[in-house]
Amino acid sequence: MPLHHRSCAWALAALAASGCSSGQAGAGGSAGELPSPAPAFPAECVIETGPGGMTPVSVAALDGDDSSLVLRQRLVPPVILDCAGTPHPGAARTWSADGSGRFWTLLLARTAPGAGAAVSAWRDPPAGETLRLAGALALVPLDQHRLTVEFDRHYDGVPPVLADPALSLPLDSSGPALSFAPVSSSDPRDALDAGAGLLRTSDPEVLAYARADSELAVAALPWSRTYVLLAPAADTLGLPADSPGFRTALARDAVAAEARAAEPPFWWETLPAAGCRERKVAAPAREADAIAFDREDPVAAALAARLVALSREPGLSARGLAGETLDSVLRSGLARGIVRALPRRALVPCRDARWPENVVVRPLVDTRASAVVRRGIVPLAVEWDGTIRPVASP
């Protein structure tokens, strides 16, 4: 259902009817009052690199994730979740809900675009689609900096979708910044040797190299990914039964990254019963007796190969495919299963659960990356999904 812009009078009436003056308040404030300052990031979510506060920090831009590290310095969602999941002000200084928990009003930061511009941006994809899948029914700008989001369901706390990167707004900030340090080599160690201040990697060799350098420090980032095997419910692929030992062995020996046995809770186990996942079902494999994986993802490739090795079916193989085609291979019967990475935490579960209804999700391992930082740079805050931002100087 597309979001639509309701009239301001209607929205105000709705807000009054829903008791917007007595709702929940974010960042310590309450509706109708100026919010109190946001709580600081907890220590476990801040990377301290020692005295210095050196800025700007050059980021070794090696892949899309590293690029997003820089891009997201100026694109901030309304709410920021720290590595522990605690909300902090982002593009929105405060947020509050009415008594029903369905109408949430955001007070945007002075450095953010106006409420009208935000509403306009959030109607378009991908923000509009993200909000729709999160149950948002309407967006109503109340004044220059206030807007209200109406949801179809009750939220006890701040709706997680408000922390989704898809809703990020550009902030005009003069704080510490990260900058690109393009790396011509495919070896991340070349970037560190060239003086990069920040590198996010999961390569054990690179981490071992960084640990051996006294100028560098290594900080583990949150467990951000869970690798799963997606396969039709009736197809075991000849694999051993799932068990903690099985997952642990996978994490220990099969994956060349920091990994652990996939640990519950898993967000896909609490998906809404209906109206969320695709109605299509997986088709029997027609052309390939294979487990597919994203060919750009070495962890997925290693897990798929290990599953093939352990399978009792000698004809089974692993096949690397382009990431954008993975969503369709089960529906089209081009593979018997997929090994893919899911976000460890899904702010919009219906968006991230893109597999057919009759597919079973078998968790394998959790992985996380680490940040290699040069000592003396500005402290860095770590968010729930591993995003790193410089902590503003007091």
């Binding site: 054990p204 020996d253 099969a254 060349a256 490739a301 290693a302 798929a304 190969a305 290990r306 093939v308 090795a309 352990l310 000698p314 004809g315 193989s317 692993a318 096949r319």
Partner: protein, 554 residues
């Protein structure tokens, strides 16, 4: 069977049979040499494959030996497999992944003595699986290279494999290594593109058939499949040759010989047809000319400038015709003399017949003059009609016989002028048309005889019209042939024509179909023409008219 057909068949057989024998002989010799060369190349190919396999096998063996020696002295390997240090386990698991690249191998696997995979280069995630089949199989092959299907994440591959063992801390470890075989087979033999090497795991014939080739040689090689089919077997390196190569070569030779045979046959056929035609046509013409000869038609031209037998025969026939013509002339002369005798007797008889009344009248008048002189005038008047009748008879008789007394006076004669003059004096210009050729040569004839000929022919033609106003008579003059000095005169009418029987007697004396006719016209014409040295031919058809053709020599 005609002479031409026999000549044709004989020529064809004389050409085609030797040519066919030559083609068969050449083809057989070529085939023998090709087959011998083919066998030599096959043997060479098999030797090359054996040498290549042995070289590759020794190379693999050498690399495995080097890797084993390296591992035996590797501390981290010892920590991992002897001490069980978990910190060294990642090194162990990844060892083969790096070593396989360093050694330039496609397959590399490290197993302990129980067959448990410790490290795998071609399938890193195969660790801890128990796969003792391959080392056992290789140890049983006695050092001879073997083929095996090996699992990889992407699917099974076929590899030429060897194994080697080493010992660390009293524990035995086995290295299995090899190179990919699928990239080699099928493949072409270096320097000989006619042969290919294919690998037949099950049935060599089906492999060759599937590739559209034929088997030239087979080289057995031990083979081990993937579980559950891990019973050692035998694969075959099959040296194949494109099924069509030798056959195609033979077919090519056959095609060329067949083409040569066909071309030669066509040429021979054409030549035979031409030769037989060239030889038989003049014979046929001679036969036709000879068939046309009779006493009245001895004017066939057998002259020939050919120097061969046909020319000689033609000249002989010409000489024979000349002799016949002379004989015919003598015969005609004899006939003429006989006829003249008959004629003289006839004239004598006729004159006597005509003179008898006259003599009787004269005797009567003499008697009257003697006995009754006064009645002489009266009696003379009474018998005068008798005298006049007899004189008229004798006069007519004389005129008729005068026509039978030719007196040739040969001189150059312009036939066109003669025909024109005849037409102007005849008074029949409205019925008789002329078609006179220009530049007609003069002929040497008796002008009067030729005039009598033409008068008779034109007169007969006019009479055949029976007074019909739509009838016509045409007198045409022309050369007998281009370049010839002979002249042909044709008198054609559209009159009643003659039947075959009438034509057969047309030249007989005193034969006539006309009331009051003497029956001497065409007879005289024929004699006159013959006396002029020419020929006369009558073409006629009842109701369609008659063509009288006179041909006079130049």
């Amino acid at each position: 069977m005609s002479f031409r057909t026999r000549l044709f068949l004989g020529f064809v057989l004389a050409v085609l049979v030797p040519l066919g024998l030559l083609a068969a002989g050449v083809r057989r010799e070529l085939d023998r040499r090709l087959t011998a060369d083919y066998r030599a190349r096959v043997d060479g190919a098999v030797q090359a494959i054996r040498a290549d396999l042995a070289r590759e096998s020794w190379s693999i063996q050498g690399r495995l030996g080097a890797l084993g020696a390296q591992l035996a002295s590797d501390n981290r390997f010892r920590q991992a497999v002897v001490q069980g240090d978990p910190r060294a386990r990642p090194y162990l698991l990844d060892w083969a992944r790096y070593a396989i690249r360093q050694a330039g191998l496609t397959v590399l696997q490290l197993q302990d003595s129980t067959g448990r995979v410790l490290s795998s280069g071609h399938f890193r995630q195969e660790f801890d699986l128990v796969r003792p089949e391959l080392p056992r199989f290789l140890s049983a092959t006695g050092g001879w290279p073997a083929l095996a299907r090996v699992r990889t994440p992407e699917g099974p591959i076929l590899a030429l494999v060897r194994s080697d063992s080493f010992t660390v801390a009293g524990r035995r470890f086995t290295l299995v290594g090899g190179v990919g075989a699928e990239s080699r087979f099928p493949g072409r033999l270096p320097g000989d593109s006619a042969f290919a090497v294919r690998l037949a795991i099950a049935d060599a014939d089906s492999v060759a058939a599937a590739a559209g080739t034929e088997i030239a040689a087979q080289l057995p090689i031990p083979f081990l499949g993937l579980p559950p089919d891990t019973i050692p077997g035998t694969a075959r390196l099959v040296v194949t040759q494109s099924a069509g190569t030798l056959v195609e070569l033979r077919r090519s030779i056959d095609r060329w010989f067949l083409a040569a045979l066909l071309v030669t046959a066509v040429v021979a056929l054409a030549l035979a047809a031409w030769l037989s035609s060239r030889i038989s046509r003049p014979l046929t013409r001679l036969a036709e000319q000879t068939a046309a000869i009779d006493l009245d038609r001895l004017d066939q031209d057998f002259s020939s400038d050919r120097g061969d037998e046909v020319g000689a025969l033609s000249r002989l026939l010409g000489a024979m015709t000349a002799r016949l013509r002379a004989g015919a002339a003598r015969l005609r002369e004899a006939e003429r003399r006989v006829a003249m005798g008959d004629l003289a007797r006839q004239v004598n008889h006729d004159i006597k017949n005509g003179l008898v009344p006259i003599r009787n009248v004269l005797r009567h008048l003499d008697q009257v003059a003697h006995d009754r002189p006064d009645a002489l005038a009266e009696i003379f008047a009474e018998r005068r009609s008798t005298l006049e009748s007899s004189v008229t008879y004798l006069d007519a008789l004389a005129r008729n016989y005068a026509r039978l007394s030719p007196a040739p006076a040969v001189e150059p004669c312009d036939v066109n002028a003669l025909v024109a003059g005849l037409m102007s004096a005849g008074g029949a210009a409205g019925v008789v048309r002329t078609d006179l050729a220009e530049e007609l040569p003069t002929v040497s004839v008796d002008r009067l005889m030729l005039r009598r000929v033409l008068e008779n022919l034109v007169g007969n033609a006019l009479e055949s019209l029976d007074g019909r106003e739509d009838g016509s008579v045409t007198v045409r003059t022309e050369r007998i042939a281009e370049g010839s000095r002979g002249v042909r005169i044709t008198v054609a009418d559209t009159g009643r024509g003659m039947t075959k029987a009438e034509l057969d007697h047309a030249f007989d004396d005193f034969f006539t179909t006309k009331a009051g006719g003497t029956g001497l016209g065409l007879s005289i014409v024929r004699r006159l023409v013959l006396d002029l040295g020419g020929t006369l031919r009558i073409d006629t058809e009842p109701g369609a008219g008659t063509r009288a053709v006179v041909e006079l020599p130049g």
